[in-house]
Subunit: 328 residues, 2 copies
């Protein structure tokens, strides 16, 4: 039997709840402690998921006996501060995406993890879903030839609730950091860092980017990406090669099927069954790293989070997306 891994969660909003739903389905894994700034929310959450320890202060969670790792699900603007707090307390960390608000913050997180010899990983759960592994395999097998163009988009109509995370600039709101990160990451994973970046944003009433559209140039390829809170888009990814293409249908960042279109052949659809939303795959990756005393994931290393945040910083700079107190 594998060593059970005991998880804590900091920040108990919607994403934490979805994550916890999947976590309790992973074998040899326990939801052991939760913390919220609201004691009511901590109590309710603890009760719902039968969590032995709950706190109304993030600082207190470190008192929990036998806690192995903390999942940070607070608003973007608190990620760096929360991660650094955990790492300084020698606690392994899985931190929601975007990893932080800018590269400077990410660098501090990475430095703190190394100084404290502690595990740290960005919760880029798309990286670990079976469809992405299959996509990489098909590309490695040269089924579509060299990649020439990637299209990926992510769009939904955000209800106008200015105080909530999505649209609130104080909480790091905006389409790019919230959902544009998925198409940006896909291109980074498949084609690495672009040689040129162009980006435009449309800003909404609250001042955050309602839409951000960007183009990446590579030596032999391009990528076209869109993120928007203004339209319900197909939220699909198309990876075009010289000899065919791969289609990841909506919503591509969590899809369970992909279709391979090879020139002059019938399309082939691959389907992966699962009873979870899909957070279990990243949870299993963290568990395995901790069981093997690894300080980083090979699949989602810290160097990748540094690249991803560099990319987001550059897109923001090109599109004119700024956050008070972050970019000053």
């Amino acid at each position: 039997m594998a060593k059970p891994i005991r998880w804590g969660i900091i920040g108990l909003g919607r994403i934490a709840e979805k994550f916890a739903n999947d976590l309790v389905k992973v074998p040899d894994t326990k939801l052991h402690a939760v913390a919220s700034t609201s004691i009511d929310r901590a109590q309710d959450f603890a009760q719902k998921f039968s969590v032995p320890y709950h706190y109304n202060s993030y600082q207190d969670i470190f008192k929990t006996p036998d806690l192995d790792v903390i999942y940070i699900a607070t608003p973007h603007t608190s990620h760096a501060e929360n991660a650094i707090l955990c790492l300084k307390n020698k606690m392994a960390v899985l931190c929601e995406k975007p990893f932080a608000m800018n590269l400077k913050e990410v660098q501090k997180m990475v430095d703190t993890a190394r100084e404290n010899d502690t595990f740290l990983m960005e919760a880029m759960w798309t990286r670990f879903i079976p469809v992405i592994q299959k996509t990489q395999e098909l590309i490695a097998e040269d089924r579509i030839g060299k990649i020439k163009t990637i299209h990926a988009d992510f769009g939904f109509v955000a209800p106008f609730t200015p105080e909530r995370r999505t649209l609130n600039p104080v909480l790091g709101g905006g389409a790019l950091l919230d959902i544009g990160i998925y198409p940006a990451y896909l291109s980074l994973l498949l084609l690495d860092y672009p040689t040129a970046i162009h980006a435009v944003s449309i800003f909404g009433q609250t001042g955050v980017d309602e839409t951000t559209s960007f183009v990446f140039k590579y030596p032999q390829a391009t990528a076209l990406m869109n993120a928007t809170f203004a339209s319900r888009t197909r939220t699909e990814a198309l990876i075009y090669g010289e000899k065919g293409y791969i289609h990841l249908p909506e919503r591509f960042h969590e899809t369970r099927t992909l279709t391979l279109y090879e020139t002059d052949k019938d399309p082939i659809t691959f389907t992966f069954e699962q009873e979870t939303k899909g957070y279990n795959f990243e949870i299993e990756e963290v568990n395995n790293c901790l069981r093997n005393n690894k300080k980083e994931s090979v699949k989602m290393p810290l160097s990748m989070s540094v690249k991803l945040m560099s990319l987001l910083d550059e897109i923001r700079q090109k599109a004119g997306i700024k956050y008070d107190g972050i970019d000053d």
Copy 2:
């Protein structure tokens, strides 16, 4: 009975043949004269389509009695010269897209048409297909709300035949002018001229743009476009609004169906039957203009061709696409 319109064609390549196939199906319309620099090709073409007059010099076609209009189907680099020749001979002109190689050439064509009080139109046949009319109607009826993002792409794998029009820089080859013009035009038609343009190109062995990817910014919308000879892409258009979207399936520039997706409603597909490739619609537009003594089409006016070429010039400048002798 409508006055029969007698057509001539200059340049007898593949596009001329496809056009002629449709032209002979249009009522009260005659293919009356053809001209090629090759007498064999002129003879073959005349025989195939039972054309009364054929010539091995473009200049000679003006001798034809009762000729009403000339369709110019020569390579892009000759469009301006050929159109000006026709216009100076007081001949109405339908000229293939791209209208010319740059804005300066287009301006000369427009000036010559006005000086000679002669009809001139760009053969942007997509403008006249029923699906585009239906798209505009649905948008005018507010079925998808305000447009927020347009995606459109056009891609096929061009065989490596460096001497042919597609890849030959001397003939104005490259993906943008050949096929990128369709997505660019769609955005221009639906959202007008963008407030900002970004573009990147990948250049192939012959020096022409193998791929050009571009993003347009509008006050309240963005457009993402791709044109490539390196991949067989879906060649579709997606027009996303606040309340739904319209999908023009492959190949969108000549499609006979569109699907309307309205939020929380079943999708509706509109299909338009036709026995032609679709050139008949632009031919009918020209016929109607000539019968009514119009010098421009209301649907594809010269001001639109000026805008379209300005757009292509700006994309070329941003992406670094140059043609010797054109951009010097």
